[in-house]
């Protein structure tokens, strides 16, 4: 579905953030993008979405080079879920979700009843119907993140790009977001790219993982990529992977143990 070939990017007068980056993600798969702060995860997503221009290489969706696509064509396939932040103007949840359908609203018109019905349908599917008339700025962070996911789905996309959707949320809300990601990929057959700080969350919801580090990267099956050695290598910490069996299912977690010796501040 998404194929990245030899991609490279650098900000002006700076060294490459990443280069020679190649990987592909199939339909219905979830890719987690992991890496330390400032390593270029968000920049990479912004390149994928055309907000920044790659210096080298190309990205194609379903075999078509995205630099050849019109923005209308591209945004019909792709939806973007930003991190939940308060808005300047508090729109109602329903109005917010229906904005996902803006593309289908002709110039000079407002969304039709059908658009609103569809938005309501998505909200109901996500169990958010009771929030429909609430103002977005009165929601909790977790609720707002769910609303933003609903807005992204309202477009009926094939690909979902999520920028750290769970990083500001408490554990329960994190779990809710991860469950939705899992369901969307495996039931609705969406291709999902998710940026995250937490290797444990990648273990829970993703099929493939892209680990980023200055000058190099690692790509592969999540279960193969996330292990003790790689965490140490890519995050500069000593960590341990733990395994738990619960109700016949296998869960994995990561426990950070210690900073590496060279990073420890002398007391």
């Amino acid at each position: 579905m998404i194929k990245v070939e030899k991609a490279a990017f650098a900000y002006e007068k700076s060294p490459f953030l990443f280069h020679d980056l190649s990987f592909s993600v199939q339909k219905g798969e979830t890719l987690a993008i992991l890496g330390a702060n400032g390593i270029g995860k968000t920049t990479f997503l912004r390149c994928l979405m055309g907000f920044l221009k790659l210096k080298e290489g190309k990205v194609s969706i379903a075999g078509k080079d995205i630099s050849q696509m019109s923005s209308t064509e591209f945004w019909k396939l792709v939806s973007y879920v930003p991190q939940a932040k308060n808005l300047v103007f508090g729109y109602s949840v329903l109005n917010m979700v229906v904005m996902g359908r803006s593309q289908y609203v002709p110039f000079g018109r407002v969304p039709s009843k059908k658009d609103f019905d569809y938005a309501m349908h998505i909200l109901t599917e996500m169990g958010l119907q009771d929030l429909a008339d609430r103002s977005c700025n009165q929601l909790s962070g977790g609720q707002l993140q769910m609303v933003l996911i609903a807005r992204a789905l309202c477009k009926e996309p094939k690909i979902l790009i999520m920028d750290e959707p769970e990083s500001n949320l408490d554990m329960k809300n994190q779990l809710k977001v991860l469950d939705i990601v899992e369901k969307l990929a495996h039931k609705n057959n969406l291709t999902i790219l998710i940026n995250t700080h937490f290797p444990a969350n990648a273990l829970r919801c993703s099929d493939k993982t892209l680990l980023l580090k200055a000058d190099t990267y690692l790509f592969g099956e999540t279960s193969a990529v996330i292990n003790r050695e790689n965490i140490q290598d890519y995050f500069d910490i000593q960590a341990e992977v733990i395994n738990i069996q619960e109700g016949g299912k296998h869960y994995q977690g990561i426990i950070p143990i210690n900073l590496l010796p060279q990073d420890v501040q002398p007391a």
């Binding site: 979405m49 019909k76 930003p82 904005m99 000079g108």
Partner: protein, 340 residues
């Protein structure tokens, strides 16, 4: 804060606007009962003995003095409010209006330059419009960093652009002939719509109505445009094209206003706020509400301007003196309703 049914608010505002216009026709130094006004509106003149309809003094006052002026007040009030609310959406910022962004000042400079050099109305209007665009683009370019315009950068850029053009306007006043041009420029810039005739309406109305219509067509997009830039692009709308239309329409409104009636401050900021408090932030309804609300507000101000004292009071003085306390009170009471 719970908002009233937005559509009902619009209907109420519309009725209030019509009632206000009728009342304004009655009020003035030569005051008339409503029945006389209505009769004059629908069948002006009286049959003379020879069977010819002759206009009375009442008809002249209603048709040639008050009606054009009232229409102008409503048009400009509506235009400035609608442009204020659209700019607020475009910049995702409840603090801006064409005045805050310095556009009124740059257009005012254009008008002053026009008065100084030509004293021909067409040139004055062209110069005001051209300088209006220059001011808007300067503020826009100056405030944008990394694709975002922060509140601080916007307001500061507006202050800078406003200051430059205010200084240039002062320069023009300084070199202007103090007998004729200087008073003309000063009075013009303080804002007045006295002496509006049907020809003025004919010149101003099409432009303002067209600009309002364009913004009204964009009313849904205004919701989307007010999101952060990435999110707005990601919805798939044509953001650049939409922004361009908003800039053109709002600058046309500001410039036409300045070239007919000088700089009228405050409306573009205050009316959108009042309307957000009344009917919420959804621009689909908000735009209509601002249209009617702005009309009512400037009509009220202008009626006061021409009837409080024997001589005219400039509009920008009254908009601030009357508007500011109402605005301050509401703001204090609600804490600013734009974010809930």
């Amino acid at each position: 804060m719970k908002h009233a049914k937005p559509k009902r608010v619009c209907l109420f505002l519309f009725i209030a606007l019509i009632a206000g216009m009728l009342a304004a026709l009655c009020i003035g130094r030569y005051s008339m009962p409503l029945s006389t006004v209505v009769q004059s509106l629908f069948s002006p003149g009286q049959l003379s003995e020879t069977g010819v309809r002759v206009w009375t003094l009442t008809d002249t006052v209603v048709w040639n003095v008050r009606l054009p002026r009232i229409l102008m007040a409503v048009l400009i009030g509506a235009g400035l409010s609608v442009s204020g609310v659209s700019l607020q959406a475009m910049f995702g910022n409840p603090l801006v209006s064409s005045h805050v962004l310095g556009v009124s000042y740059s257009a005012g400079f254009g008008a002053a330059l026009g008065i100084l050099l030509f004293n021909n109305f067409l040139y004055i209007q062209i110069l005001a419009t051209a300088m209006g665009f220059v001011g808007m683009l300067m503020t826009y370019r100056m405030s944008r960093r990394k694709g975002q315009s922060s509140t601080l950068m916007l307001v500061l850029s507006g202050v800078i652009v406003g200051a430059v053009f205010e200084a240039l306007t002062s320069l023009i006043k300084f070199v202007a002939d103090p007998e004729q041009k200087l008073p003309a420029i000063t009075y013009w810039l303080m804002g007045t719509i006295s002496g509006t005739d049907w020809l003025d309406i004919l010149k101003a109305a099409p432009l303002i109505i067209m600009a309002i219509a364009v913004l009204w067509m964009l009313r849904w997009r205004l919701n989307v445009v007010s999101l952060r830039e990435d999110e707005a692009i990601a919805t798939g709308i044509r953001l650049k094209q939409t922004r361009m239309l908003i800039i053109i329409a709002t600058t046309v409104i500001a410039s036409v206003t300045v070239s007919f009636c000088g700089v009228i401050a405050f409306i573009g900021l205050a009316v959108p706020h009042l309307m957000r408090m009344l009917c919420g932030n959804d621009h689909r309804v908000l735009l209509t509400a601002c249209c009617f609300g702005g009309g009512i507000f400037l009509l009220l101000i202008d009626t006061m301007a021409r009837s409080i004292t024997a001589s005219e009071i400039p509009l920008s003085i009254l908009t601030a003196i009357v508007g500011a306390p109402i605005f301050a009170m509401l703001l204090h009471k609600t804490g600013g309703a734009w974010d809930d």
